[in-house]
């Protein structure tokens, strides 16, 4: 019964999206015709479906937490048995934080676009599809299914960017789908290589784990290439083309600048951390030797990412670009944790996926809110002229909540980010003390960027003194912000809750390497 819950968790947003699409159509906003009850029903439908999935997610995580005997829940069904393709999903300690992150953010995203005039049903439907695909990606226990859901998430993002983005949204969406296709192709090579070079052929991560490709080679003309190395490189490159990792990161920022702030929440706050965690897990399970060899290189790339992200944050004059930059720095941090191949480092990375994801999502929500109130997201116009300011006077509660979120992203004590970042630093130190230098420089630069932004937006005097647009949070907005802030404080004060949950799985994963 518990295992079937995983399928229900995946299915409920998916069914919600389908059911919502089948409801009678609404009239275009410019037609001036009365729509009746349908928009409201569709809205509640979407929220219920998303909440139902999230609720099951929370139940599954709490089951794992309280029942020490069932540290792993799995569900397996035959799909295309001839080719050993199974519908195999499961939950263990490592994917618990990811499920928490998805479960927390997606209902809030639907709430954020509540009552939106332009294509609300479409937006909600696409969020539901994204929620289902991300749940699937996280829970999938075989490579075929991981790729299935990984690629499934491309089209919802495409439409969210192309339809509800800024002026150059279509070009941004075009770029997104091209990069995603390259990423898909690269990961596709990995899974096909893994399947056909294993004997008997299988996609099951469990069966493929434990260095099955050691010594295996395949021939291309006169050359011989190690299967493990090629598959690992393609896997990593596949990730590089989907999340902002140096040196292929420029596209991400140009897309981020055109996407709507709430889409950016789904992208930066949920999709990016989740993708790194899923790919890192595959790397740990399947390519132990290659991961050990390339660990220092990946650590270096992570360090560069942290510094580059921080520098971008300093130079950003627009909040979405700022969020993209902070996201890149967080990616670097998580990558460093995974690449350290040390218990504290990996624990920190898994922890930071949740803490960083919530922090980034919170800032994304704030950007959306600000855009709705003041019509733009610039905090510093051309020639250094201020375009925002004085929000602390108008909206003290909002300011307080944003401060908590930013503190977590900067790793201040008392909030979730501190624990994650501290553990990552400890893990990286064990590999080489030099990596601490990367991280420290990055954190200092990022702090400068964050306070630079904070000074322009929250402090000083309002730019337009008669402008009463920026008012404090409404009830619905408080409901959206509070869970994230409470969760971050809870993680900061009582990190054991999450660490106890993820530690056994991390130790099992590391034991494979050792």
């Amino acid at each position: 019964m518990k295992a079937h819950l995983i399928s229900w968790m995946l299915l409920s947003p998916l069914l919600g999206a389908v059911a919502q699409a089948l409801l009678p159509g609404t009239k275009p906003p410019h037609s001036g015709r009365y729509d009746g009850w349908w928009p409201g029903i569709a809205r509640w439908f979407a929220l219920t479906a998303s909440l139902f999935g999230s609720l099951i997610g929370f139940i599954l995580v709490s089951t794992l937490y309280y029942d020490s005997n069932s540290r792993v829940l799995t569900e397996v069904h035959r799909w295309i048995g001839v080719y050993s393709i199974e519908y195999s999903v499961g939950i263990d300690g490592i994917n618990c934080p990811l499920i928490l992150l998805i479960s927390l953010i997606f209902p809030l995203l639907i709430l954020a676009d509540w009552g939106s005039k332009a294509g609300e049903r479409g937006i909600h439907g696409l969020y539901l599809l994204l929620q289902a695909s991300l749940f699937g990606m996280v829970c999938a226990q075989n490579l075929f299914l991981i790729f299935f859901f990984w690629a499934f998430s491309v089209l919802p993002f495409y439409f969210l960017i192309a339809v509800w983005g800024e002026n150059e949204r279509e070009q941004a969406a075009f770029r997104f789908i091209i990069y995603s296709s390259i990423s898909n192709a690269l990961i596709f090579i990995t899974l096909t290589l893994a399947y056909f070079e294993s004997s008997p052929h299988t996609f099951s991560i469990e069966e493929l784990s434990g260095g099955k490709f050691e010594g295996a080679v395949f021939t291309i003309g006169p050359w011989e290439a190690p299967v493990g190395l090629v598959a690992f490189l393609f896997l990593f490159l596949g990730l590089v083309f989907r999340v902002p990792i140096w040196p292929v990161n420029g596209w991400f920022h140009s897309i981020g600048a055109q996407a709507s702030p709430y889409v950016l929440v789904a992208l930066c706050g949920v999709f990016v951390p989740t993708s790194i965690a899923v790919i890192a897990r595959v790397g740990y399970e399947l390519f132990l030797k290659e991961l050990s060899s390339f660990g220092p290189v990946l650590l270096g790339i992570g360090g560069i990412n942290v510094i580059l992200g921080a520098l971008r944050a300093i130079s950003a004059r627009e909040l979405r670009l700022f969020l993209g930059a902070v996201c890149q720095a967080q990616v670097g941090l998580i990558l460093m944790g995974y690449a350290s191949i040390q218990e504290p480092g990996v624990l920190g990375a898994v922890f930071q996926v949740l803490a960083g994801g919530i922090g980034l999502s919170g800032i994304g929500f704030f950007i959306g809110l600000l855009r709705r109130r003041q019509g733009h997201t610039w905090f510093n116009g051309d020639e250094g002229k201020a375009r925002s300011g004085g929000i602390i006077i108008k909206a003290p509660i909002l300011t307080f909540l944003v401060v908590v979120l930013l503190s977590s992203l900067l790793g201040f004590p008392g909030v979730g980010g501190f624990v994650g970042q501290a553990l990552v630093v400890i893990g990286a130190y064990a590999v080489s003390p030099w990596f601490i230098l990367f991280n420290s420089i990055g954190t200092i630069l990022l702090s400068y960027g964050v306070f630079h932004m904070f000074r322009h937006i929250f402090l000083g005097m309002p730019v337009d003194r008669n402008n009463t647009g920026v008012v404090d949070l409404t009830f619905l907005e408080r409901v959206s912000f509070l869970p994230m802030v409470v969760f971050l404080v809870f993680l900061g004060v009582y990190p054991r809750f999450l660490l106890d949950l993820i530690q056994p799985s991390v130790l099992r994963m590391l034991s494979l390497v050792q």
């Binding site: 393709i85 790729f147 299935f148 859901f149 690629a151 439409f159 789908i177 192709a185 096909t192």
Partner: protein
């Protein structure tokens, strides 16, 4: 009597054609609904007869000329489904005039009948005749819009290429007959085992057969007609040609090559007996088709032409599998054809709705379609994504199997080429997406007015597209069983 029972699907199709012609002669001006109803009833009966024919699997009729095996049964089902789909499309589309629908339906049924014959024939002469008959039907279907210069031009181009293809096949059959003294495929096979074809002669005859069938499959170097025809022909006719011609090419190809040029005693792979580079010829053609198709698709500005080139790329991709030539690879190929049947059928359904509103030539004319008719826009994207193998659509499973076999056979070059072409074709697909989604916010004018029955048609096409993902295993098993006896 038993022979007639085994031929019931073909007899049903012939009866439908006769009924339509008689209806036209006796009741000229009859409302089109009864013609469509007659056609659909006939096709439905033929379908049921085909299913019932599974109990006589392995039988042969007409003195061994005609065989009822897994391949013929699969292809009968495919052809009848295609004819049904195109008949519906013709009825729903505004491009076929009401008065012309009866003759259009008759030609489509005729095409379906000839496809069945070509797929079931074991005699090379009958195969040749069926293919020529099909060429004639397709030629008429392309030039259906007699007033349209594009349509006439496409028909002429098709005729020229079909004549070349026909001549190549005729020479190939004649040479084989000279060497073996028979036209029966099985007899030829037994003789070739005793006295194999010499190296150069073997390669020459193979090349004649291959390039002749390459015309139907629309693969390099015989693919040039495809994009012109698919752009010039009325949308329902284009659907019939785009799906029917490659399918008949692949099925006849698999039957002929597996009997005459495969390894010893129906083993997998290409025969080494001829000593020639048979697999290399196929591979070269496939690679060139994939690269050309994807590159041409990427630079197109016209929607139908872009689609046609994407299909050329897909055909090359399917041909690449023939280089492996084993049961699983061929099953994957035909699974992919089955997926394309519904996806492309749906795709042309959307295009016919768009063409009806005088849009859909240039990509730029698609702006606002997504806003004007969201369901049609989404369906279009789903069908296209399905053909290109985007998860979670079934084309993805087919593509995985095909690339996988390439890797399994230690042909990473093929896999890589498929992937690179895939990426370029996805870029072309993105351009299409770009046009459909473009202008969503600005465009408030709903210019498309799809009828409810047109939307039902799309739904009927969407359903199997998803079902083929969920029930991929039973479908693959069925397809594999259909082709297993060959290998």
């Amino acid at each position: 009597m038993t022979e007639a029972t085994l031929l019931l699907p073909e007899i049903c199709l012939a009866f439908v054609i006769c009924a339509i012609i008689c209806g036209e002669v006796v009741h000229f001006g009859e409302t089109y609904r009864s013609v469509i109803l007659t056609t659909l009833l006939g096709l439905g009966t033929a379908f049921v007869q085909t299913i019932l024919g599974y109990q006589h699997l392995g039988a042969s009729v007409l003195a061994g000329i005609y065989t009822i095996d897994g391949v013929s049964q699969f292809f009968r089902i495919y052809s009848i489904a295609l004819a049904t789909m195109v008949t519906l499309l013709g009825a729903l589309s505004g491009e076929i005039e009401k008065d012309s629908r009866s003759e259009f339906s008759a030609f489509v049924c005729g095409g379906g009948l000839l496809m069945c014959v070509a797929g079931s024939s074991r005699n090379l002469l009958v195969t040749w005749l069926a293919l020529q008959g099909l060429n004639l039907v397709i030629f008429i279907l392309i030039g259906y819009s007699k007033q349209d210069i594009g349509s006439i031009e496409a028909a002429v181009k098709y005729m020229i290429f079909s004549l070349i293809s026909s001549a190549l096949l005729a020479i190939g059959v004649a040479l084989l007959f000279l060497h073996t003294g028979t036209l029966d495929l099985e007899s030829i096979r037994h003789i070739l085992i005793q006295t194999p074809l010499g190296g150069q002669l073997g390669v020459f005859i193979f090349s004649l057969f291959f390039f002749s069938l390459a015309f139907f499959c629309a693969v390099f170097p015989m693919h040039f007609w495809f994009s012109d025809v698919l752009q010039g022909a009325p949308t329902p006719a284009a659907a019939f040609i785009g799906l029917g011609a490659p399918a008949v090419g692949f099925v006849v190809g698999v039957r002929i090559f597996s009997t005459l040029f495969s390894g010893e005693e129906h083993a997998s792979g290409w025969s080494q007996g001829t000593g020639g580079p048979l697999a290399e010829i196929v591979l070269l053609s496939a690679c060139a088709t994939m690269v050309l198709g994807s590159l041409l698709a990427f630079r197109q500005r016209r929607a139908k032409r872009l689609l046609a080139n994407l299909l050329v790329m897909q055909n090359g991709f399917l041909l690449a599998v023939l280089t492996l030539f084993n049961a699983r690879a061929v099953a994957a190929l035909f699974y992919h054809l089955l997926v394309a049947l519904f996806a492309l059928g749906g795709l042309y359904g959307v295009l016919s709705i768009i063409s009806k509103s005088n849009r859909g030539e240039l990509l730029s004319e698609f702006r606002g379609v997504f806003n004007g008719a969201a369901l049609e826009g989404i369906s279009l994207i789903i069908f296209l994504a399905c053909i290109l193998g985007f998860p979670p659509f079934p084309g993805y499973i087919g593509k995985f199997l095909l690339i996988g076999f390439a890797i399994e056979k230690h042909e990473p070059f093929i896999a890589l080429l498929i992937l690179v072409s895939g990426i370029i074709s996805i870029a072309a697909f993105s351009r299409f997406l770009f046009s459909i989604v473009g202008g969503f916010v600005e465009s408030h004018e709903v210019k498309l007015h799809p009828l409810p029955r047109q939307r039902w048609y799309l739904f009927v096409m969407l359903l199997p597209t998803f079902l083929l993902t969920v029930f991929a295993e039973p479908v693959l098993q069925w397809v594999t069983r259909s082709f297993l006896f060959i290998f």
